[in-house]
Symmetry: C2
Subunit: 339 residues, 2 copies
């Protein structure tokens, strides 16, 4: 095996030049005689030389690492996002000479400490933040430190920072417009508590689309709660217990888990999903296409978001002047049998 690491000096010795010359030649910073070039390349090839990344980073005073951490989902929830998002970040980062460094996600006061530590120890050149919400302490901290970062998700509008987000309102607008087009008028939405920025964004789309369809959105069609199966089921049962003329004919939920809860409730009430009651979810988790009936849902371009986050961050880190520091990606409505 390559028991002993091959260094510039080994290559230089074999090629008969100084090791600094090898470095410059390999980095294209120097013109050498063609035969010297050939000797160096041969030596590199034969010894299997690769520059030591640690030494290089040391010299550069940078790590070429992008810090990323994510909330681990509680059991019963899926993080189908992670695979796509992380994979695309890793790929995009690799293409421009960076790596992604995952680190544990902590809640509360300690959370910012990890970021501080990673910065001070020179472990990362920048961060990508996930699960961003209002008043995010990480954003506050990083802004104060003037340390490069890109948020996947928006936060307080008065803060000035780079972000990539999915246009949730556009997603719900599409869904509602579709339902209206199918003749629905009594359309309910299972939304999230008002402290969720993502939830508010998506709810906003519902309101806009209802207004655009000239439908007065009744307040008892707007229910808020945690995005779980149980909450989705309970809310739906509540809606289905309204008097016949007031019972909604369609329900939009802000995630798929709630939609599955809604489907369970509809089944309990003996309704046929898709005809008696239309249901549309959000996220398009991989399995929802196999539900009975297959669930219509709003799909988010996650991989694209990961790419964009890295692209923006690298531009920031390398001080490039770039056009836009905000990227809003469009989700798409996937229609299946449930609506």
């Amino acid at each position: 095996m390559a028991a002993t690491k091959v260094t510039l000096k080994d290559v230089a010795a074999r090629a008969g030049v100084s090791y600094q010359t090898v470095s410059k030649v390999l980095n294209g910073e120097m013109q050498v005689a063609p035969e010297t070039m050939a000797r160096i390349q041969a030596a590199v090839q034969e010894l299997g030389y690769r520059p030591n990344r640690i030494a290089r980073n040391m010299r550069a005073g940078r790590s070429f690492m992008i810090g990323y951490s994510w909330t681990q989902t509680e059991p019963g929830q899926v993080n189908h996002i992670l695979d796509q998002f992380l994979s695309s970040m890793v790929r995009e980062a690799g293409a421009v000479g960076y790596y992604v460094l995952p680190f544990p996600f902590l809640e509360g006061k300690e959370q910012v400490e990890i970021y501080r530590d990673l910065i001070r120890s020179g472990n990362v050149d920048g961060f990508v933040l996930s699960s961003v919400n209002y008043n995010d302490p990480r954003i506050q901290f990083l802004l104060k430190q003037k340390f490069p970062f890109v948020a996947f998700g928006r936060s307080n509008p008065e803060w000035d920072f780079a972000w990539v987000d999915i246009d949730g309102a556009a997603g719900t607008r599409q869904a509602i417009a579709y339902l209206i087009g199918r003749g629905h008028r009594r359309i309910a939405i299972l939304a999230w508590p008002p402290d969720s920025r993502v939830g508010n964004d998506r709810l906003q789309g519902y309101l806009e689309a209802m207004e655009a369809g000239q439908i007065v959105s009744e307040s008892d069609y707007i229910l808020r709660g945690e995005g779980t199966f149980e909450v989705g089921r309970a809310m739906t049962l509540h809606l289905l217990d309204l008097p016949a003329g007031r019972r909604p004919t369609a329900i939009l939920t802000l995630n798929d888990t709630m939609a599955i809860g809604a489907m369970a409730a509809a089944r309990e009430r003996g309704l046929t999903i898709g005809t008696d009651l239309a249901i549309i979810g959000f996220d398009d988790a991989p399995m929802v296409q196999y539900l009975f009936p297959p669930l219509s849902s709003v799909r988010q371009p996650i991989a694209e978001a990961g790419r964009k986050c890295v692209e923006l961050l690298v531009a920031l880190v390398e001080g490039q002047t770039f056009t836009e520091k905000h990227v809003l990606l469009q989700p798409s409505l996937i229609i299946r049998a449930s609506a």
Copy 2:
């Protein structure tokens, strides 16, 4: 902001000692006068010093990084594993001073090249391998290079390497034993092609449990195919079309996606799942508890596997003599309404 990084020399200047002394004191390799100690600690605190990880690694000649890559799932499949596995690796690694370095997963000939590059560039001290199968070229390569790695999953029995795996046969044994205990005799299994080591392992458990229950396992109850919804559905339709007296009363599948396909098939034939036909899946994906009816499945201790992989790898990297280089973890059967 900490525009300029704080180094040992800054701390030393403020504490009035040489920077090497600061280093030794912080690493507990030197006794100093209590007041000197206090001055040093005060300086560290005031300046917010953290050792530069790159410089430290450079000196150590190691990266303290664990390379990891995973197969990105095709759309329609979930990688519910990744979140748990990666989170637990990151956590465990962090606890012992390591980080996890994700890198792109490539198929084919290039795959080994990435590993070679990461080794030569000193990027990682070891690897954790996922999606291991027979004749895995990565294992062959790393064994030849004598480079530390731990596989999550077994491979060719004649190869001697450290691995952590889930006892798939034990999982299917439990499932079949349960079905037999419930009075089932005609039990089919939807298995995978014989080139899948994981699939063969799980199938083996089926065979053993059938034998233990003194049931002759009929070859037409053992179907093999890709682990998709469509294949699961098609195989199940085939089984349900057997003559009445030969039709299986229970089906075990090697993953949840096939089980969901099986459920769809049963529904198409007008059967009530759980009573007319028992179905048990494998993996216990987060959403299967919300299916109708909720799917029984075999749950794997993924987080524990991630922890163990890191534990073994670090022991290998640091040359510790350790007891066992093979860890076999036990899955558990989760019974819900489908069986």
